[in-house]
């Protein structure tokens, strides 16, 4: 399972990085989403990868998983979701103003 989690983080980060380096807004947004997914899995794994154990106190439990990263990842998911929504709105605004969805600036927009 460690191999699965590790390779999932690695592959998603690679795909995300590749997409971020594209020139169009849509691939960039998808790439950022991929990277934030990879990040969420990574945070989840930082409390050690265990299967089938409860994070909160239970009378029948034989062991526990660390509940802290689950709380952290919840915060991270909410924030990255909100930020992606803002970016989508902004990219749409730029698309309607400029008529294209390129993320690089025009000559007169630089500096």
């Amino acid at each position: 399972m460690e191999l699965l989690v590790a390779s999932a983080v690695g592959v998603m980060t690679t795909v995300g990085l590749y997409l971020i380096l594209r020139l169009r807004a849509f691939p960039v947004i998808v790439g950022l989403t991929m990277i934030s997914y990879a990040c969420n899995v990574f945070i989840f794994a930082s409390g050690r990868v265990v299967a089938g154990l409860p994070p909160i106190l239970s009378k029948t439990a034989t062991g526990y998983t660390d509940p802290m990263p689950q709380a952290l990842v919840l915060t991270a998911i909410v924030i990255s979701f909100g930020m992606t929504a803002v970016l989508v709105m902004l990219a749409l605004g730029a698309f309607f103003e400029a008529g294209d969805d390129r993320v690089d600036l025009d000559e007169e927009g630089r500096e």
Binding site: I20, A25, V28, I29, L32, I35, S36, C39, F42, I43, A45, S46, G47, R48, D66, M68, P69, L72, T75, A76, I79, S80, G82, M83, T84, V86, L87, L90, A91, G93, A94, E97, A98, V103, D104, L105, D106, E108, G109, R110, E111
Partner: protein, 503 residues
């Protein structure tokens, strides 16, 4: 004892932002009054906290009364109180400018976003928990996204998309770094990290070094260090003038985080990391100075010129921070105060010029502008301060930094600081003569423009702040030396967190 006052700089703007958004959204004059009053109150609270932190030492606010490291803490010490006070002063002055020039009428929700921005910045300065620092970074960023595109327009929106995307990558990197730290130490409370890291098993040293480098990269993005500065010039040049002026304190959030984390959690005498971060920071700072100076020389527009001046000042600041000695930290803090006010003043002056001119081009002269004499005088003062010429505080700040960077790398640091200052002086005087002197050759009557006394008062207040910082340099630098000593010996900071559980 400051008690609940410690959380007031976070709660007050949060409540006021929501109130402005929900109740005052259609009544701009009332929103102006409430928002300005809230910022003035924030300044009063910040000064009270500054007084308390000076006389009573670090104090911790336990959110929900959960003991550290299990709950989130806010820590008030000299450095955080100073940065909150600086933010509140800058915000109040720049807000008056925005009202005086009518910038807040060019889009909706300016004052609500302004308050949320203050909430994020103050929270980032006060928090004593690394994950909470991430959360406040996001709060200040999401408000800054709204402020950056205030007023709209094609170029501004496009620059906004770049700014948001770049910072989202930074946020993700921050999370990767925090998760790595948590997986190694099992805590994210900064004082607890400082207590636990010296006893770290040898096998985990590589992971913690990596996590530290990731955090350094995040703070370098915020602080506009080369090669991660690429977001700054376009963002600052395209953002509305008052917003760019407020953003002058956002780069200092990056500098603050570096000073806080790398003196408290990863000091240079920590065996696992040693001087790794200082060794990474110094070359980046020197290159930043050089790149900023070249940018000042090559700028073709007023806003670009000021943006690159800000990049140079961040390089100078980080060169002092990278020494990680009490003397150099004190010099860096003085320079941080100075460069925040100087950069903000220049951004406001650039905005005054832009409001009266057809465009901001620096390649050819344009006809004279309305109120030319006054604006030229302000530009002169701001440029002298920013370039680091006597008699203003920039000169004193750079002198302190030069004095504090004696050692092995001294020739390189001195040459870069002096060389970049020289190039910045040339760039600024070229811009000043083209903007104000050569305009007389055009022989055209200036296009009339409302005088807007409030805008000039606000810009003048920033310049007056620089003069005050120069006149009070003695007491201020003594106070900052004590602050730096406290930062480099964080025993009181750690003890205030009551990690043993005697809470």
């Amino acid at each position: 004892m400051m008690g609940h006052w410690i959380i007031a700089p976070v709660v007050l703007p949060a409540v006021m932002g929501a109130f402005t958004l929900l109740v005052l959204r259609n009544t701009l004059p009332v929103a102006r009054v409430f928002s300005t009053a809230a910022t003035a109150l924030l300044l009063a609270i910040a000064l009270r906290l500054l007084w308390g932190a000076t006389h009573e030492g670090p104090e911790v606010y336990f959110l929900g009364n959960w003991p550290a490291p299990f709950g989130i803490v806010l820590v008030l010490d000299r450095l955080s109180a100073l940065m909150v006070a600086l933010t509140a002063f800058l915000a109040l002055v720049v807000q008056l400018y925005a009202i005086g020039t009518g910038w807040d009428t060019r889009g909706r929700h300016f004052h609500a976003l302004w308050q949320f921005q203050l909430m994020g910045v103050c929270g980032a300065f006060l928090t004593g928990d690394a994950f909470n620092l991430f959360v406040f970074f996001e709060v200040l960023l999401i408000a800054s996204y709204g402020l950056m595109i205030h007023g709209g327009g094609k170029d501004r929106l496009k620059a906004g998309v770049q700014y948001v995307a770049y910072n989202l990558v930074g946020s993700t990197l921050f999370l990767f770094g925090l998760a790595t730290i948590y997986s190694v130490t099992g805590t994210l409370n900064m004082a607890d990290l400082a207590a636990k890291l010296p006893g770290l098993p040898e096998g985990d040293a590589a992971l913690i070094r990596l996590a530290g480098v990731m955090l350094l990269m995040v703070f370098a993005i915020k602080g506009a260090l080369v090669p991660l500065h690429v977001w700054l010039p376009a963002t600052y040049a395209q953002a509305p003038g008052p917003v760019s002026a407020l953003f002058a304190v956002m780069t200092k959030v990056g500098a603050y985080a570096v000073i806080r984390i790398y003196t408290l959690v990863f000091p240079t005498d920590l065996p696992a990391t040693g001087t790794l971060y200082a060794d990474l920071l110094l070359p980046a700072a020197l290159v930043t100075m050089a790149v900023g100076a070249v940018g000042v020389m090559g700028a073709r527009k007023v806003q670009g010129l000021v943006a690159f001046t800000a990049v140079t000042s961040m390089g100078t600041l980080f060169a002092a921070v990278a020494q990680f000695t009490p003397g150099a930290t004190a010099a860096a803090l003085y320079y941080a105060l100075h460069s925040t006010l100087a950069a903000a003043a220049l951004f406001l002056i650039a905005d005054l010029v832009m409001a009266r001119r057809i465009d901001g081009t620096l390649t050819e002269a344009r006809p004279a502008i309305a109120q030319q004499g006054l604006i030229a005088g302000l530009f002169m003062a701001g440029a002298i301060a920013a370039a680091g010429m006597p008699p203003l505080s920039g000169f004193l700040g750079k002198l302190m930094i030069l004095d504090a960077t004696r050692g092995l790398a001294q020739p390189l640091i001195w040459a870069t600081i002096l060389g970049s200052s020289f190039v910045v002086i040339i760039g600024l005087s070229r811009a000043g003569s083209l903007l104000f002197w050569k305009s007389h050759a055009a022989q055209a009557t200036p296009v009339p423009h409302p005088a807007q006394p409030l805008a000039f008062v606000a810009t003048g207040a920033l310049v007056a702040g620089l003069v005050g910082l120069t006149l009070a340099a003695g007491p201020v630098s003594t106070w900052l030396a004590e602050t730096a000593a406290e930062l480099h010996d964080p025993a009181a900071y750690i003890a205030a967190n009551k990690l043993g559980g005697e809470h």
